[in-house]
Symmetry: C2
Subunit: 439 residues, 2 copies
């Protein structure tokens, strides 16, 4: 389902780093490393809650039946996984296209007033449901959005009917949102204690919105399960070992930025999910590979110049899907005005594939080591496998780098400042200090 | 219309780099530097072709009248500017919203077959026009897309009516597309010889699609004209000088990646436009700042950890819009379930602004020098000024870095390989060599 090519790296260098990868693999699989209370995702593809999974599917069917729009309220890991999967498999034009599943609109991931106003206009006159996703229920962005849309859905449908249209994904026992759910009687799904936000795509956090969009979540989990087997192999044949070996070798040689290159606009949010996963797992203690992304071939005409000839601090991980999902071919032009008749009758995919192969060589020649991931085809099973691959490799890579890949202590810093500047009770003194600095 | 704060940089360092900026400014304004035959954009806000500008507005009105969808076929600078402006001013949900102007769909900027199929389904049963944008008419991505949609529009409307629905923006005299336009009688707009793709937003390349979306292009140009005056000042009071001084000082100190932080999903493509502008202008001779972007507050919950505590090779340029465009406020909750009643009644913009100020301090404290750009308000005039500011500063910065900011020699490398692998006549030998390397 997934092949990796790390021939850009000399074998002797790989051999030398293997003991470190082996040790990281043991930490991960024996759960002896830092952050080992957040390893629930490792076995999730097999050890998931079957009864809850059935409830997720039933809720998705209910939402499909009662709504033209699902609002997903969540930030960070609470929206990136589902958005990545929906766009990858249903296309970035999903909401614009005619279809027999609801639009899925993501809200509560920013503080833009015009964004909220646009969403309000988009649900005007259309039936909608809400999936609010928050472990605590107190994260500012989703919490204030939920206040707005809870009020709106209750005004629209009345309090009782609204309760049937609000689905919450939250802590199993504690927190403001869980308390509200118990009080109001919303259907509730669990964010497990041992699965962090960026690893939560296989929990109801990811699965409910994905299922609403008509994606086969059984196949996704099955693909993840297959990849779990593959990744469990304590050997350099394991593609996760190869990826982790390559990127850590390159990082130590000064390639401090990794550019994930995807070949389809539908994969832009897959790259955003990747950036959270790796950036948040590795970017600590003043180290870590900086994760960036390009969407090709579009960005060959924007970031292509830098990739080819800019500062050589880059490595590139290329993701190519091995089988076409579209059948468009290039029409012949009797006049051959553009001189491209040598492409007549060729499929777009064939041209894209050769663009990918040509770019791989061009960037390599330009001094950017290229790692190549080939996903067998664009479907639930393979994408499920790919996501698990990236998750497993990320844990492995974080341990190889020497950090705890499962915490995110730095995310609190801005929040404290924001609360102080907003006059949160108890933060008054700090607020004054910050205002003085900002003068 | 635009304020800059570079207080992150010590004054003595600024003083020391001023002579270099002064020299770069002279090269740019006296047109004595490398690439000086591509400086048409400098005076474009005042020296544009008034008759053609009137034709752009007339064509936009015709397209608005005859079409529900405009397909913009172009790649790189031929779509990023217009897409950036349309999303910034009309919102990233522009195509999804009800409105009295046509949808604007961008095509020909990738080789995805499913993308083309989606676009075909989106124009099914809806009147459409095409704006094909290409200097040569032979760039692969837009050329093959134009073949597909030219065939489709001629089948739909017949060859004669189709001619009134195809608008071309291309070279004034030469090239495959210009030849076709003359032959078919398409209305044609000019990409000036002295304006490169990434600097072309104020030519018909950018202006026609922008006008179709109902945006006031007079006000945009007026804003650019105002900023041209501001940027012409040969003094450190010039905000472009300040920006260029700061980013080059930081680059020399090892801050080799610049992260543009915007505060609204509507600005994601503005950041993409910025990345092309700076990446393509500076990324050469194995140097240049790597341009990256984050969309806040969303990405504080994904890239925020890296920004706060990752490898300290980052500088951050924060763009904040100074006046709200939306009036949403936080509803009060008598139960205060989420503990956020201290925000009740506050506008989303007020919270976003304090998040921005708090993040500015948090990232600064974390070791990421922050430069702050404040745009007065979200309107045509200020955005017009902002784009010109970035263009002027980019030219200045390229000269300060010691490169030609107006060429892009590296973009050809992948194309040659792709053509060889696709069996283009004359490339057969090279194709064999590449295939051998790829084995």
């Amino acid at each position: 389902m997934l092949k990796i090519d790390i021939s850009a790296i000399e074998k002797s260098k790989i051999d030398a780093i293997i003991p470190e990868i082996k040790s990281a693999h043991e930490k991960l699989t024996k759960k002896t490393g830092a952050g080992n209370d957040f390893l629930g995702w490792v076995d999730l593809p097999v050890n998931y809650d079957k009864a809850e999974f059935a409830r997720v599917k039933a809720a998705a069917a209910a939402i499909q039946k009662q709504s033209q729009v699902l609002l997903v309220i969540g930030i960070g890991g609470s929206y990136l996984g589902s958005r990545a999967v929906i766009e990858a498999l249903k296309g970035s034009f999903y909401n614009l296209k005619k279809k027999n599943t609801p639009d899925v609109l993501f809200v509560g991931n920013n503080l833009s007033a015009s964004y909220v106003e646009d969403i309000i206009s988009l649900i005007d006159g259309r039936d909608f449901s809400i999936n609010v996703i928050s472990k605590s229920g107190t994260t500012t962005e989703p919490a204030v959005a939920f206040r707005v849309f809870k009020q709106l859905i209750e005004e629209r449908y009345g309090k009782e009917e609204a309760k049937k249209r609000i689905f919450a994904t939250t802590d199993k026992a504690r927190g403001a949102l869980k308390k509200l759910c118990d009080q109001e009687g919303y259907e509730t799904f669990v964010i497990p204690d041992d699965v962090g936000g960026r690893y939560s795509v296989y929990t109801p956090v990811g699965l409910l919105p994905i299922a609403v969009a008509g994606i086969d979540i059984d196949a996704m989990l099955a693909g993840a399960g297959e990849m779990r087997e593959i990744c469990s192999l304590p050997d350099i044949k394991n593609p996760a070992w190869q990826y982790v070996a390559a990127r850590n070798i390159l990082y130590r040689e000064g390639k401090t930025t990794e550019v994930l290159a995807t070949y389809d606009p539908d994969y832009v949010f897959l790259a955003e999910w990747f950036k959270q996963l790796y950036g948040e797992s590795e970017g600590k203690e003043n180290k870590g590979i900086f994760p960036a992304a390009i969407s090709l071939t579009a960005d060959l005409h924007s970031m292509g110049q830098y990739m080819q000839e800019g500062k050589r601090c880059l490595m590139e991980t290329v993701l190519l899907i091995g089988e076409p999902t579209g059948a468009v071919t290039v029409p012949n032009d009797p006049d051959n005005a553009d001189g491209l008749n040598f492409l007549s009758g060729k499929s777009f995919f064939e041209i894209e594939k050769q663009a990918c192969r040509g770019t791989y060589l061009a960037h390599t020649d330009g001094g950017v080591p290229n790692l190549l991931l080939t996903m067998e085809k664009k479907d639930e099973r393979c994408l499920g496998g790919l996501l698990y691959f990236f998750e497993f490799a990320c844990g492995l890579s974080g341990y190889t780098l020497g950090v705890n890949p499962f915490d995110q202590p730095g995310v609190e810093a801005y929040k404290k400042n924001m609360f102080a500047l907003l006059g949160k009770p108890g933060f008054e003194e700090e607020g004054k200090k910050l205002e003085a600095r900002l003068k």
